[in-house]
């Protein structure tokens, strides 16, 4: 029995100008699972992540060869509008980035209006649901119209998560979402990720191996742009197949 594959890459090579950051990665990510990408700094995991929602090409000199398949369709095919793609594949960044001129409510609903204008009642419903799923509703329900900047760092990051899940994407990409947060906030977000996988497919880049071991179903180990190993998390962490994987996991480098 194979799990349904939501996202897959086929010989994906990502470059900045002449520099190759990711070399020919061919991977599959099953639906409704959490997939961790680990590796030392500069190994290409963030670049790979950003290629999954076509953010990589927004960087200076960024381009790719190969394919990325969302439910079987190549997202880099001609005629694909990256905007539309990003409505189905959302991203949360390392530093919380709430929109400074908008309230909490407007931040969460920011992604809803890009696809036509839902009615006010519907927006309110969606916002509340997103905030509940992001475990933020209780803390902000009385100040939905205040500035988003008044929230703490951990709250702001959960706000960004709420903002990302409100438009119901299929995949959520998380780029080191807890590295700017304190341990308590980190734990809350990890719990969140674990719950969210019921409705979303999640790919998370993390430099914290314990985090990868805690939250993910599969793990991919990157090193110098290459995929060294990819498989079930439990297996990777207890019996890694490659020496390099074992060396990184046991902390001998990186």
């Amino acid at each position: 029995m194979s799990a349904m594959i939501r996202l897959a890459t086929d010989k994906l090579t990502a470059m900045y100008g002449k520099f190759t950051a990711v070399k020919s990665a061919t991977l599959e990510f099953g639906a409704n699972q959490v997939h961790a990408l680990i590796g030392p700094s500069g190994c290409g995991k963030s670049t790979f992540l950003r290629a999954l929602n076509r953010m990589h090409e927004m960087s200076e000199g960024g381009w790719i060869t190969g394919r990325v398949l969302l439910d079987g369709t190549d997202i880099y095919a001609r005629g694909v509008n990256p905007m539309q793609l990003r409505r189905r594949v959302g991203m949360v960044f390392q530093r919380p980035t709430p929109f400074p001129t908008m309230s909490v409510f407007d931040n969460v609903s920011a992604g809803l209006r890009v696809n036509g204008r839902p009615g006010k009642a519907e927006i309110r419903e969606v916002v509340e649901r997103a905030l509940r799923r992001a475990a933020l509703w209780e803390e902000v329900k009385d100040r939905l119209n205040t500035s988003a900047l008044a929230l703490s760092g951990g709250q702001q990051q959960r706000l960004c998560i709420a903002r990302t899940i409100a438009p119901e994407p299929e995949v959520i990409l998380l780029d080191e979402p807890t590295s700017a947060l304190d341990p308590q906030a980190t734990q809350r977000i990890e719990e969140l990720v674990f719950e969210l996988k019921q409705d979303f497919t999640i790919v998370i880049v993390t430099h914290n191996m314990q985090q990868a071991a805690r939250v993910s179903d599969t793990t991919t180990f990157f090193y110098l742009g290459q995929v060294i190993e990819h498989g079930a998390t439990r297996q990777m962490f207890t019996a890694p197949k490659h020496d390099q994987t074992e060396a990184y996991i046991t902390g001998r480098f990186g």
Binding site: D71, N81, Q84, R88, N115
Partner: protein, 323 residues
Amino acid sequence: MSDVATESAPPVALEGRNWGDLAFRGVLTAGALAVPLLMGFLVWELWVGSRMAVEEFGFGFVTDSVWDPVTGQFGAVPLIFGTLVSSFLALLIAVPLSLGVAIFLTEFAPPRIRQPIAFVIELLAAIPSVVYGLWGIFVLIPFLRATIFPFLRGLFGFLPFFQGPIYGPSMLSAAVILAIMVMPYIMSVSREVLLAVPPSQREAALALGATRWEAVISAVVPYARSGIIGAVILGLGRALGETMAVTMVIGNRHEIAASLFAPGYTMAAVIANEFTEAATDIHFSALTLVALVLFVVTVLVNAGARFLIWRVSKGRPAGGRGL
């Protein structure tokens, strides 16, 4: 390999064109294009408008001194003379003052009064030129005529600059008012430049036993030298183009005189005064040529200034002299 997904709502199609973005970029590009187009158009119109005068006078325009609309003779030497003299005199007065203020504010003033004083002096830059002129006519000139000018004539009357009758409207009056007007610019740019000097420069001098004044004058100022020169040249650029205040206090006479108490004329002032009264095509063309010359001169001066200021901000010091 993969099952067909059954979803509650059909996923957003991936295909689609981005007309909004194309239109947006188009609008922005049009706005950006307006800038070179307008500039080019300005140069073109000035060039075309001045051609008659160029053909008629050629190089004589900048070597003849007679400016007579009635007989159709237009020589711009008094204008050029007046522009240069009034501007350089203004700098002579303004630069020491501006530098003194800038150095004081960056090196010696207690921190709390720095911002308010800088703000007050920058308010001077916000006063419209015509208001300076009004004040110049009714307040400054009578004051100068009654006190400073006779004092200068008494003390320095042996020099040709301070001889001759004192009317009031004069080259020196224009220089004083120009000095007040350019001072805020020289001061604020010098201040920025001085603030960019690494503190290590001053500290090194102080560590070697210099007094605070010596540290400033031998370590900080030389480091910022090209930026300060840039600030001065920026002030020059502004002085060259000042129109209203100058035309209201300089006397508007096409004359070259050695005395600073004598009236004079500048390129900007003559355009302001004579343009509405010009009756012949050649007169218009001569004035347009003056505008063109003024334009070219100010562009070159400003470019030179910005280059020098840019050099300091890039971290290339003029070279300290040490103690």
